[in-house]
């Protein structure tokens, strides 16, 4: 920044501060009382990571990072809408700079006729379980390979409708049509993306639930020569068991999530690509969680010396988390990855901590 730019920035800052002070003095009636009640619920989250890799010497795999900072605002807009705005500063891969991203900017209406709900704007696409989580909600430090490989960045702009089906158990259907900007797609034409998720949940005991979900999405891709179509189709299924002790506050609890993601195979490939993970978490003390997870991906096949090889990775991880309250946590994790078709592998030792301040909305079940 040149001296002139610094001078200009300082002048602008001083002017803003002075104007703010003047405005506060002149319009006290609008900055207090009812207007303050109308302010949105505001929260911020910071996520930090210290990591050492056994086999990867790159700076991205070794060091101490601010992984992500997030600001969230939620408010009722009027009798018809509730709005959410989430702005995220996420560290760029292999860099110490940050991308600013609007993660969510959406209007929700859950008072439509026939018990339907409507969402308009930019939002997480409902596909499976993990793709809808913010990084500070991840059960492990990194997303499963199956998610990173096949359905990364499932955020898009469009419209979504949801409702429950008239069945004896809880069954929710969400359908959406979006622009096609989400990770698996490539919007270089006028095609839109669309998809649906059906989630069924049963109370199998007073304290335990079983959820079975199925997801589908379809959107434009950039390489129709390879895939044989300008549309990419992805299918998913998930099974989650949750249990928490009903007889003890903050007592033992179990979360066990399994998810499979199946993209439509490329035209020239012979194998069936898929990704799978299984995450198990157990609360063994009032503030302590143990996590064990594993997963794999199998991508397109290649021929090497006449032998067909399905490319892919395997992974395993274990962590211990100290969660003194719902507003902070610190966890230590060891993760292992190996290439399916070669001897490449890596072990990472990580320590992650996060905080949440302000009025942060409760997370989904």
């Amino acid at each position: 920044m040149s001296n002139n730019q610094k001078l200009l920035s300082t002048a602008v800052l001083v002017t803003i501060v002075l104007l703010a002070g003047t405005a506060g003095a002149q319009t006290s009636s609008t900055s207090t009382g009812v207007s303050r009640l109308m302010n949105p619920a505001l929260s911020a989250n910071g996520l930090f990571l210290a990591r050492v890799s056994r086999d990867d010497p790159s700076p991205a795999a070794n060091g101490i990072f601010l992984q992500e900072a997030e600001i969230q605002m939620t408010s009722v807009v009027d009798p018809f809408w509730t709005a959410d705005l989430i702005v995220v500063w996420a560290q760029k891969e292999d860099s110490d700079t940050y991308d600013t991203m609007i993660e969510t900017a959406s209007l929700r209406n859950r008072s439509m006729p026939a018990g339907l709900g409507l969402t308009l704007g930019k939002f997480f696409l409902p596909f499976g379980k993990h793709a809808m989580l913010h990084p500070h909600q991840f059960p492990f430090i990194d997303a499963p390979l199956a998610i990173d490989e096949f359905i990364p960045g499932m955020i898009d702009v469009g419209v979504s409708m949801d409702g429950t089906l008239p069945l004896p158990w809880y069954s929710e259907l969400v359908v959406y049509g979006v622009d096609g900007q989400a990770g698996p797609f490539n919007r270089d034409n006028r095609d839109l993306a669309f998809g649906a998720r059906l989630s069924n949940m049963w109370d199998i005991s007073l304290d335990g639930t079983l959820e079975l979900g199925g997801s589908f999405c379809s959107g434009p891709n950039a390489d129709s020569d390879l895939t044989g179509s300008s549309q990419s189709n992805i299918f998913g299924a998930d099974l989650t068991y949750k249990w928490s002790s009903g007889s003890l506050s903050q007592g033992p609890a179990v979360n066990w999530t399994n998810e499979i993601v199946i993209p439509e195979p490329d035209r020239n490939a012979t194998g069936n690509p898929f990704g799978f993970y299984s995450h198990f978490q157990y609360r063994f003390g009032r503030s302590w969680w143990l996590g064990v997870g594993g997963g794999l991906t199998r991508d397109k096949s290649t021929y090497d010396g006449g032998i067909e090889t399905l490319q892919g990775w395997n992974e395993g991880k274990i962590n211990v988390a100290f969660v003194p309250s719902e507003f902070s946590s610190i966890r230590a994790e060891i993760s292992y990855q190996e290439s399916h078709e070669s001897s490449r592998n890596d072990v990472r030792y990580s320590l992650q901590w996060n905080f949440t301040i302000g009025s942060h909305p409760a997370h989904l079940y």
Partner: protein, 309 residues
């Protein structure tokens, strides 16, 4: 032919009548105490269900979407308020997609609005270094039956607005409930006469309305910051304090971390008194009056009369 027509008309009338009786007010409450009060006020004119069963701590109810099925059909949602349900009710309401019970809807009822006096409202700055503090005040007001009467009357008014045909019945039943409380008050008061001379150590601020109502003397809390595990230093301080006093009663709810409460009671040399947190939390406490009876009886049993010399 005429006979057949008559039969059809009669059947239609029967069905219409049956339809009317089925068209009772669907009331959902968040906690079991409110369910018991709603049942007392609503009688046969309402169908009551609750989200948080008695044995579960309502601070930590998992927001299972399956619970929203109850809310989806509700005409009236009676919730405790004072942020007791802050971690889960908004999620369930969102999933329920029921405009009748959304905030501001005719079927949205914050029962804490009926109270005349809220305990433990923080004066001064509040932040999370104080733990999961309820910034609007202590939410466990149904442990004072006099508050339950205020809630019952408020419920009768709201039910009457939603179902004017039965308004008089709701009012009458609320007054029956109030009279029942008034009738039992002297007995509850007498039961705890001896306990008033004792020093009470509670695990969590859950009991403040009960102890305040009965004039019991609370000298310490094991969980000094709500929702946060007490530090060994604080626990030692509570034990030391208890050992300095005569006639100590240690009280915890059945869902509290009883190993800490037991250690405190053991090292003071008194039995731990485990109480039901809400109606239905222990066997034989499904009824609201049975619940209050149990609280008074157990605390009275923990406070044996002093031996006269």
């Amino acid at each position: 032919m005429n006979f057949t027509k008559t039969l059809i008309v009669a059947a239609m009338l029967v069905l219409a009548t049956a339809g009317q009786s089925l068209a009772e007010l669907k009331v959902v409450t968040t906690i079991s105490d409110l369910a018991r009060i709603a049942e007392a006020v609503g009688g046969d004119d309402v169908e009551v269900s609750t989200l948080c069963p008695g044995p579960r701590d309502p601070h930590y109810l998992p927001a299972k979407p399956s619970l929203s099925r109850k809310l989806a059909k509700a005409d009236l949602l009676c919730y405790n308020g004072l942020e007791l349900e802050i971690g889960w009710l908004s999620l369930l309401l969102d999933k329920a997609r029921n405009p009748r019970i959304k905030p501001g809807g005719q079927g949205d009822m914050d029962c804490s609005n009926a109270l005349e006096h809220i305990l433990d409202v923080p004066d001064g700055n509040v932040d999370r270094s104080m733990g999961d503090i309820h910034a609007l005040g202590n939410p466990h007001y149904t442990l004072n039956p006099e508050n339950a009467v205020l809630v019952a009357r408020a419920m009768s008014r709201r039910m009457g607005e939603l179902d004017p045909q039965n308004e008089a019945d709701y009012t009458e039943r609320a007054e029956v409930f109030a009279r029942e409380v008034t009738t039992r008050l002297p007995h509850w008061h007498d039961q705890l006469a001896e306990a008033r001379s004792k020093s009470i150590i509670i695990y969590h601020q859950h009991w403040n309305y009960f102890t305040h109502w009965q004039g019991l003397n609370v000298v310490g809390e094991i969980e000094n910051r709500p929702g946060i595990a007490p530090s060994p230093r604080h626990v030692k301080g509570i034990i030391d304090r208890g050992n300095d006093l005569d006639g100590v009663i240690v009280i915890a709810a059945q869902w509290d971390h009883l190993e800490v409460a037991r250690e405190v009671a053991e090292r003071i040399g008194v039995p731990l008194t485990i109480l039901p947190g809400y109606s239905g939390a222990q066997e034989g406490t499904d009824d609201y009056f049975a619940f209050i009876d149990r609280l008074c009886t157990r605390v009275a049993e923990a406070a044996p009369p002093a031996v006269k010399e």
